[in-house]
């Protein structure tokens, strides 16, 4: 069995009240390297809370979270930011591309803060864009790209630092079914090349691509069925 990328031990997040809201109740979860996990649940179930905790954008109120074996709950903001910049790649529903920057510049943004030498940035960004099939649109502005292409740029940005974990938040939420299917195929391919992927979605079609499904409801995680890949 591969080493765990994610290990949650009694991880919980309660938003201070009044009244206090237990958005995530103490949860235990282990995701191995190369895993492909879908987290599903209705809105308000605690999906986003889990995403932010996994992405080190938020801190738990209890429990510990080990990323690549590192206990993140003991880290200061500097180290958490470093981990975020190096080990985690985010893919958002709304793409979050900078509208006035080209696809290539958007991808390079993920290399800005993690001390990647300037000389290496462009080549890494070009490689990432080529990996998502956008080698021909590198100088295009997001406004001239289709939704599917925008999300591919966002994935390239998430990949460029070769992170341990690819965190996808409703990655197909803003795409039509055809683009959504193509995107899920891309994620499948990336997983096949070794990326650990966690997809948070309420879309069962998206969740069905994952090899493991976890449901969340009222802040409680529960393992669902083990689905066959493909």
């Amino acid at each position: 069995m591969a080493a765990p990328v994610i290990e949650l031990r009694g991880l919980a997040r309660t938003y201070p009240g009044p009244p206090p809201v237990p958005a995530l109740r103490p949860a235990d979860l282990v995701i191995e390297a190369g895993g492909y996990v879908a987290v599903t649940g209705p809105s308000g179930s605690g999906k986003s809370t889990l995403l932010h905790l996994l992405g080190l954008l938020d801190s738990p109120t209890a429990g510990s979270y080990l990323l690549d074996g590192l206990d993140t709950s003991t880290l200061n903001d500097r180290d958490r930011s470093a981990l975020r910049g190096r080990r985690i790649g985010f893919v958002f529903q709304a793409f979050h591309l900078l509208p006035y920057r080209t696809a290539l510049e958007n991808v390079q943004l993920a290399e800005l803060y993690n001390q990647t030498p300037r000389g290496n940035r462009i080549q890494a960004a070009v490689d990432a864009l080529e990996a998502v099939g956008l080698g021909h649109r590198m100088e295009a502005l997001p406004t001239t790209l289709s939704g599917g292409e925008c999300q591919r740029v966002a994935i390239a940005r998430a990949l460029v630092n070769r992170p341990s974990l690819l965190l996808c938040d409703e990655p197909t939420g803003n795409l039509d079914s055809q683009n959504a299917a193509a995107l899920m195929e891309l994620l499948d391919e990336l997983n096949a090349t070794g990326f650990t992927i966690v997809v948070i979605t309420h879309d069962q079609a998206v969740a069905s691509h994952a090899r493991r499904a976890i449901a969340i409801s009222d802040g409680v995680l529960s393992e669902r069925i083990e689905v066959d890949h493909g």
Partner: protein
């Protein structure tokens, strides 16, 4: 910057990257950037323009206020309080016999001496030969001058030599004439060794020197200078009293900057028994003139410049704050890709500072342009002090930096969660 417990290099935003991000942020919205900069442009432009125009104006005053004026002191003989001279005659001149020597002992005086215009009857002829009748006449002024006065006049000699104190003491009938007079009465410089004479109403004066121009007293008129004692013997005492046109005067050439001090001392030194008889004229203090001009308008305009800068700062603060609110999503994204709050603050601070600097640069250019165009239109020399012109764009930088600090703080406190949750 060692590796931490994570084994990763800590997040970092280099100066170069921050600047590049700031510039990219500004050029994204050029129209907005220009409007934002306007206040700073006006403020810095006004600052540079006002100081430049003031310096140019002051420079012009000092230009008009020539070195010659600044080194000339004149003393006029106003006559004795009670006229003690016999009826029909003028009183003795107020200056002592050794007036030149006394004046030259005053610190700062380079040359000084007594002179006066000799009043001649109407139709006086100046001629180089008694046999000739057609000669220069009215336009030539006959001046009595001591050797010191001749020296103080600063004559440029063409031929011969200036009047000496020996010629004065011995009442020689010698004269100096200017080139115009020399040409009019037919005495060339080449003829000087043969001792030509000028006859004034029949009295012969041997020409010992010809001058072409003078720095003081006889600057714009044809004149013939004779020793003062010769003039006293031939024409009697000059009439004292200011405005008589022929009262005895003293002209003193001083070192630069010494005129004021010389003017304060000279009357007492020359005539300790009755200093008020001598009326001293000295040039106005040039520093007073300059500070008057600098003081009046410049203060007002500098206040206006400050107000413009304040408005510029508010403009930049406002726009940067709007940009921060507008770009919450971008802030969230940057946090997600590893930026720390301080990196977010640095980026917005760099943007506002770059805006301010750019505004300061443009403002400085406009200010310099105004000064240069104004000076050119007036045919003046533009004066721009590099000590405040060159660093002027930095005023814009400081304005931008200060204006951006609150928005940058706001930006750094933006929660990445809130920023990324919705779009």
């Amino acid at each position: 910057m060692g590796r931490s417990t994570t084994g990763l290099l800590p997040p970092r935003l280099t100066m170069r990257d921050a600047t590049a991000e700031a510039v990219a942020g500004i050029v994204q919205r050029p129209g907005r950037a220009i409007l934002t900069m306007l206040g700073t442009v006006l403020g810095v432009g006004a600052f540079v323009g006002v100081l430049g125009l003031t310096a140019t104006g002051a420079g012009q005053i000092s230009h008009q206020f020539t070195v010659l004026q600044d080194t000339t002191v004149t003393v006029e003989d106003n006559g004795p309080a009670n006229n003690v001279a016999p009826p029909g005659a003028n009183p003795a001149i107020g200056f002592p016999a050794d007036a030149d020597t006394i004046a030259s002992h005053i610190n700062g005086v380079s040359a000084a001496g007594v002179w006066w215009p000799v009043s001649l009857p109407e139709g006086t002829n100046f001629t180089s030969s008694l046999a000739l009748s057609a000669t220069a006449s009215q336009t030539v002024n006959l001046l009595a001058a001591s050797a010191g006065a001749v020296k103080a006049m600063g004559l440029s000699m063409v031929a011969g030599s200036p009047l000496t104190s020996y010629e004065n003491d011995t009442s020689q009938h010698v004269a100096m004439i200017d080139t115009t007079t020399a040409a009019a009465i037919g005495i060339s410089a080449a003829r000087l060794p043969s001792h030509p004479a000028v006859f004034v109403n029949g009295i012969a004066y041997t020409v010992t020197g010809i001058y072409s121009s003078a720095q003081r007293v006889v600057t714009s008129e044809s004149a013939m200078l004779i020793p003062e004692k010769t003039a006293l013997a031939d024409y009697g005492n000059p009439q004292p009293g200011i405005g008589n046109q022929d009262e005895a005067q003293m002209v003193a050439a001083t070192r630069i900057g010494a005129a004021q001090a010389v003017a304060r001392q000279i009357a007492v030194a020359e005539l300790p028994s009755d200093p008020s008889r001598l009326v001293v004229t000295s040039p106005p203090n040039p520093q007073n003139l300059q500070s008057e001009v600098t003081g009046d308008l410049a203060g007002l305009f500098l206040i206006l410049a400050l107000i413009s800068l304040l408005i510029g700062a508010v403009g930049i603060a406002n726009t940067t704050l709007v940009a921060v609110l507008e770009r919450t999503e971008e802030i969230g994204l940057r946090r997600a890709v590893g930026a720390r709050p301080r990196h977010i603050a640095a980026q917005f601070l760099a943007e506002s500072t770059a805006l301010g600097t750019l505004g300061g640069l443009i403002g400085t250019c406009i200010g310099v342009g105004i000064v240069v165009i104004f000076a050119a239109a007036k045919d003046w020399t533009a004066v721009l002090n590099p000590i405040y012109t060159l660093p002027a764009p930095l005023i814009g930088s400081v304005v931008g930096l200060l204006a951006g600090s609150y928005p940058a703080l706001r930006a750094s406190r933006t929660s990445p969660l809130a920023a990324l949750r919705h779009a």
